[in-house]
């Protein structure tokens, strides 16, 4: 089993400068602890995302880390000029020593797309053509764009390009990701995640050449580890309500409802739906063992920092996770077929 971190980089109550500094300190802890990768989301015009430029944030994170891989989950491709996307990826991959992991998506919030002048109805199409362009450009010395041949004078360190990730919300998208050999992430309850991961495995076997490496199949969950269940739950409930308010900020501001998951009103409801756990190391370990096994995942991606969790609370939670939970999940691996 491998372990990673997902982060919306949603706003806490700290002043912005201190907020970024504390997050970088936490990321340095992930690096020391041996997590596989840190994945950051992209959001705009909302307290949900304090990394509207994931590239800027990951550039800073790269300088504070040595082994930890760094990625986006995901770049909202319609909001990036494809040439600039190629350029930034090359810079990041070189400056991090080849530690970049590339998640791309069409942008989960239609409001954010609209602010950038993008039509949400055409976002899927924009994503698909930009994706092809970017992946081709990363491996080529020039690219045809808007009727001109543009020289590409940078290249990524990882060839032909860094590993690619996709957030899966349906069996069809799992199948598409498998055909392209992408790593995948699900943030659904275990049963739904299992459906997508199984579809991914089937499509993978059919589509990929026999010796190809199996991509990572991850599930995400909120995790707070504490010395007692009560203590961890209190912290998780408090912080989640702040995260939840951030998640709904734009929708509430404009009087609209979000299309995708994020609907659990509080941490207890989130836990009941199987997407988060707060408690002692034993409780957290049991929850994760069951979730990972039920989903058939090979990659356990945890949200340790969210809402107004203080740096101290987060660091203690992560430390307990690393010393008490990770070792006991070390030999857990999914059984692919029945």
């Amino acid at each position: 089993m491998e372990f990673g971190v997902f982060d919306h980089l949603d706003r806490s109550d700290l002043p912005l400068r201190d907020y970024y500094a504390s997050r970088l300190a936490l990321i340095a802890q992930y690096d020391r602890a041996g997590f596989h990768a840190y994945h950051v989301a992209e959001h705009h015009a909302t307290p949900l995302g304090m990394a509207p430029s994931p590239s800027v944030f990951l550039a800073a994170a790269a300088q504070h880390t040595r082994r930890l891989r760094l990625g986006t989950l995901v770049y909202a491709l319609p909001l990036h000029h494809p040439l600039r996307m190629i350029e930034e990826i090359c810079m990041l991959d070189q400056m991090s020593g080849g530690r970049l992991e590339l998640g791309f998506g069409r942008g989960s919030s239609p409001i954010e797309l609209e602010y950038y002048g993008q039509d949400p109805a055409t976002a899927q199409q924009a994503y698909e053509s930009a994706l092809d362009l970017v992946l081709r450009g990363l491996a080529a010395p020039s690219i045809d764009f808007a009727g001109r041949e543009v020289p590409l004078v940078l290249e990524p360190l990882q060839r032909p390009h860094p590993p690619v990730w996709y957030g899966v919300h349906s069996r069809e998208s799992a199948e598409r990701a498998a055909k392209r050999g992408f790593n995948i992430v699900c943030n659904e309850p275990a049963a739904a995640s299992r459906l997508y991961i199984e579809r991914f495995r089937e499509a993978w076997r059919a589509a990929q050449p026999a010796g190809a490496s199996l991509p990572r199949m991850g599930v995400t969950q909120f995790v707070v580890v504490g010395e007692s269940d009560d203590n961890a739950l209190a912290v998780a409930r408090r912080a989640y309500s702040v995260w939840h308010a951030s998640f709904h900020y734009l929708f509430r501001r404009l009087g609209r409802t979000p299309r995708i998951s994020g609907g659990e009103p509080d941490f207890d409801a989130l836990h009941r739906s199987g997407k988060g756990v707060a408690g002692t190391p034993d409780r957290v370990r049991d929850f994760l063992a069951r979730r990972l096994d039920a989903a058939g995942a090979t990659y356990c991606i945890n949200r340790f920092a969210f809402g107004d969790l203080s740096l101290d609370e987060a660091q203690r939670s992560v430390a307990l996770f690393v010393s008490e939970v990770m070792p006991r999940l070390a030999t857990q691996a999914p059984i692919a077929a029945a």
């Binding site: 993978w204 026999a210 010796g211 070792p327 030999t331 691996a333």
Partner: protein, 267 residues
């Protein structure tokens, strides 16, 4: 200045999907294909003997399910299951003319593979192999390591037991979890019949590829007579000894072990 002064790139570990199981495979190097099947301690991508082999061969070292932190499907419970999985891996990777090297139970797995698919194999190297029983029914051919304290097992296994001894204090909890799982899997697949497949001795004579059996001179687990019997069952097989090593010559004398393999491969 030697011609190969630049350090070879480290071996990598990746997952390969077979029909009904996913294998972790350590891979690296270039040249003729050498598949290495590990002993009950698993295998580490940074092991000196492996990096030395990767300087001369394309090394493919799969982890048997249940070892090295990998999953053991509920239906897998025998060495033969590992042999099938590794053969399927070789097929999926399109391997041909493989130098198949196995240590201890890895040697047993390699021997089983060779009895099923000799055409895959260019030559076979068995390091301290187990897997046969040629002695009387009322005596074990190899000592019962499950029925003795660890310090006695260490004396059987290592030319210098203090070097081989596991000190839990020096290992992380994650490493200890993997070590415990390795022992559990070993017990599952070697308990009964103890450390052998009764049919293997009837199948070894069908192997028609050049075979080398290597044994550490101080190996207290696989005795000289046992190794001789093993070699005698494979037509044309040779037996050689690695000085200063016990049951894991690839760990205790990596350079000498690698040299033996290279010389045998070049014949």
């Amino acid at each position: 200045m030697s011609a190969d002064a630049a350090p070879p790139p480290p071996l990598s570990r990746r997952k390969i999907a077979l029909a009904t199981v996913e294998l972790d495979v350590i891979e690296g190097g270039a040249g003729r294909t050498l598949m290495f099947l590990h002993d009950a301690n698993g295998v580490d991508a940074n092991a000196p003997f492996l990096t030395q082999l990767a300087a001369r061969f394309r090394v493919i070292a799969p982890l048997a399910p249940g070892f090295g932190g990998t999953a053991l499907p509920a239906w897998m419970n025998a060495i033969d299951d590992f042999a099938h999985a590794h053969l399927e891996l070789a097929h999926r990777l399109g391997l041909d003319r493989v130098i198949l090297v196995g240590a201890s139970i890895g040697g047993w797995i390699a021997a089983e593979m060779a009895t099923k698919a000799t055409r895959l194999i260019d030559r076979l190297v068995l390091i301290g192999p187990v897997g046969i029983k040629v002695g009387p029914v009322d005596r074990l051919d190899v000592p019962d390591i499950f029925a003795m304290p660890q310090h006695e097992v260490d004396r059987l296994f290592y030319a210098r037991p203090e070097q081989g001894r596991l000190d839990p204090a020096t290992k992380s909890d994650a490493e200890l979890a993997v070590i415990a799982q390795n022992r559990e899997t070993l017990a599952l697949v070697t308990w009964e019949p103890y450390m052998h497949n009764p049919k293997l001795k009837h199948r070894l004579p069908a192997i028609d590829r050049p075979t080398l059996v290597l044994r550490g001179a101080e190996d207290g687990f696989v005795a000289p007579a046992y190794a001789e019997n093993f070699a005698r069952l494979v037509p044309g097989a040779r037996l050689a000894t690695i000085a200063g090593a016990g049951h894991f010559p690839h760990c205790e004398q990596p350079a000498a072990l690698v040299e033996s393999i290279v010389r045998f491969a070049d014949e």
